[in-house]
Amino acid sequence: MGGTDRRDFLIKLGTGAGACALGAQGVASLRSLAPNVSYDAPTTVKLGPPAEFSDGLKFLADERLFIFRNGNTFHAVSAVCTHLGCTVRAEALPKPETVDVGGSPLQLTHQFSCPCHGSHYTGDGVNTSGPAPKPLSWYRLSVAADDGQLVVDLAEEVGRDFRLTV
């Protein structure tokens, strides 16, 4: 074996080792940036006793959520626009109308509009115009076993036939 071969081998060894070291450093650096623990707000949130909600709509800014009450039934509609995540605004309808939503009647008192790109939704969250690709999410509401507060689960979407009767 000639000297050139050994030199070649050592050059390759050095280059390879250097590339491996830098590659590992790079992978480790990038991986460290993908969070392992989320300190975001929890997805199950207590909203207060049902009695605190008056009939009609209440906007919960922290959860970006609309809570509707009609007598003793409740349902929750997300305020996060399905297009690009802006918070939609509620506008009261001149006069409420009752429509059939998911097989059960629902009184619509409001409609929603997004300030970012002008998507419009009906009171039950169905997108009617603008760039929004799908309806606003509905989330599961329940009553806390311990203190009877209204609880929303922002991780669990439900169908539009969902009503919580208290």
Partner: protein, 442 residues
């Protein structure tokens, strides 16, 4: 009396270099002995230096980058990248710190100016066919064009990351919309967004990420690529304008220069390089880079800095209410250079029966992706002859110049619509119409 030590070879007796050379040799020495100037050629043709060929847009861009680094430095001492204190520290810079308002304005105006200058530079290179290899041998101008496109993207990203830092409503919602466009990419989108903002919500993790990208990662990348960009310009034979003189001109007879040495045979046969010369090396059409090129570069730099400094006195930087994730401003607009994209994402949601494609994916990912892709590959798509290199609006490139102009005008038009004709709920208003007054809160 101590004897003077002898001068060692390679040791320079003068403390500084000269920018006023007394001979050609001095002029060459002024380039090679100076780290800042060593990337320049020793000689440069008058045609390459013409104000009206390049408009010195690359130099102006570099000057703006320099100014951004310089004006960013004091801001680094004053700004606190924390959700609790960022807004207050920017407010202090704006209203309490001596000259703070002006420094922030310089940084902001220069940043917007750099976006504009980079786009103009790109347009200049396109219209002059300067990404083409006029000589054709051993040139890789198309590669430098690709580097330029990357630098354009880096510039936009730099500006965008800086946009968040004041942590006001303007910043927060522009970044909300911007990063949600990333999450519209199928499959990997949500992960990309999460990596970009360091979680699911725009929070402290996002601020520190954007901050580090803005002050270290992206400027470092721009500086490194800028160095490479300049080096490639040299290695491809200077500006594309020079190719015309090298390749497309036939040598002509020029009088011998008294400062040069010729071989007798060369003079007799007429083969000595400056007895028959092309414009690129003829003594009457070239000048020494020191001082002529350096002087013009300094004039362009000085002019840029002066203009920005004066503009910054008159253009106030906006600072809205502190960022509030609970209230979306109405309308919520992206930075102006992304407004054309925002306009497109508004209009491109496609409904096919029950099947819907989010406009954010088409308008925010596919369309700009295609545009950047085609832009990057353009030098390989351009089939015009070599003669079209380094000349403004060469007839052989008429169609592609028109296409380029149409696309640019369309982008400008969409930007203008987004800026001036979109009111609350992104509804269309003519500029002379007044927006309806809406309650700002629910």
């Amino acid at each position: 009396m101590a004897q003077q030590p002898p001068e060692a070879p390679g040791v320079r007796s003068r403390r500084f270099w000269s920018l006023r050379p007394r001979s050609d040799r001095d002029a060459g020495d002024a380039i090679t002995s100076n780290f800042l100037l060593h990337a320049m050629p020793a000689k440069v043709s008058n045609a390459s230096m013409a104000w009206t060929y390049s408009f010195w847009l690359g130099t102006i861009t570099a000057a703006l980058f320099l100014l951004l680094v310089l004006s960013g430095l004091p801001l680094l001492f004053l700004y606190v990248p924390s959700v609790e204190r960022a807004y207050q520290s920017v407010k202090d810079i704006e209203y309490v710190v001596s000259f703070g308002k002006w420094l922030r304005a310089v940084h902001r105006v220069a940043a917007h100016g750099m976006v504009i200058a980079v786009v103009f530079h790109l347009a200049r290179v396109f219209f002059t066919g300067a990404y083409k290899n006029g000589v054709g041998r051993n040139q890789h101008r198309e590669w430098n064009w690709v580097i330029g496109v990357v630098l354009l993207l880096l510039t936009l990203f730099l500006s965008f990351t800086g946009y968040l830092l004041p942590w006001d409503q303007l910043a927060f919602w522009a970044v909300t919309v911007g990063t949600n466009i990333a999450s519209a990419i199928p499959w990997v989108g949500p992960s990309v967004r999460e990596l970009l903002i360091g979680g699911r919500e725009i929070e402290q993790a996002t601020l520190i990420r954007f901050y580090v990208l803005h002050i270290v990662v992206l400027p470092g990348a721009v500086a490194a690529l800028f160095g490479y960009h300049m080096w490639r310009v040299r290695k491809d034979g200077g500006l594309a304008r020079a190719d015309r003189e090298e390749q497309l001109e036939t040598p002509r007879t020029v009088p011998p220069t008294p400062t040069k040495t010729y071989t007798l045979l060369g003079v007799a046969r007429g083969t000595a390089p400056t007895v028959t010369a092309k414009t690129l090396i003829a003594a009457d059409t070239t000048v020494n880079a020191v001082p002529d090129l350096v002087r013009r570069a300094l004039i362009a730099t000085l002019g840029t800095i002066a203009l920005i400094s004066i503009l910054a006195v008159f253009i106030a930087s906006p600072l809205e209410e502190p960022a509030n994730p609970l209230i979306t401003p109405n309308p919520a607009k992206a930075p102006w250079y992304f407004l054309w994209l925002q306009e497109i994402v508004t209009d491109t949601t496609i409904h096919l029966g029950s099947f819907t494609i989010n406009g954010a994916f088409i308008g925010g990912v596919i369309l700009p992706g295609l545009l950047i892709g085609v832009l990057t590959l353009w030098p390989w798509l351009d089939r015009s002859p070599r003669e079209a290199t380094g000349e403004w609006f060469h007839p052989a490139r008429r169609t592609q110049n028109l296409v380029f102009i149409v696309v640019m005008v369309a982008i400008l038009l969409l930007t203008y619509i987004g800026m001036e004709m979109r009111g609350p709920y992104w509804e269309f208003f003519w500029p002379w119409e007044t927006w309806p007054s809406l309650p700002s809160r629910i």
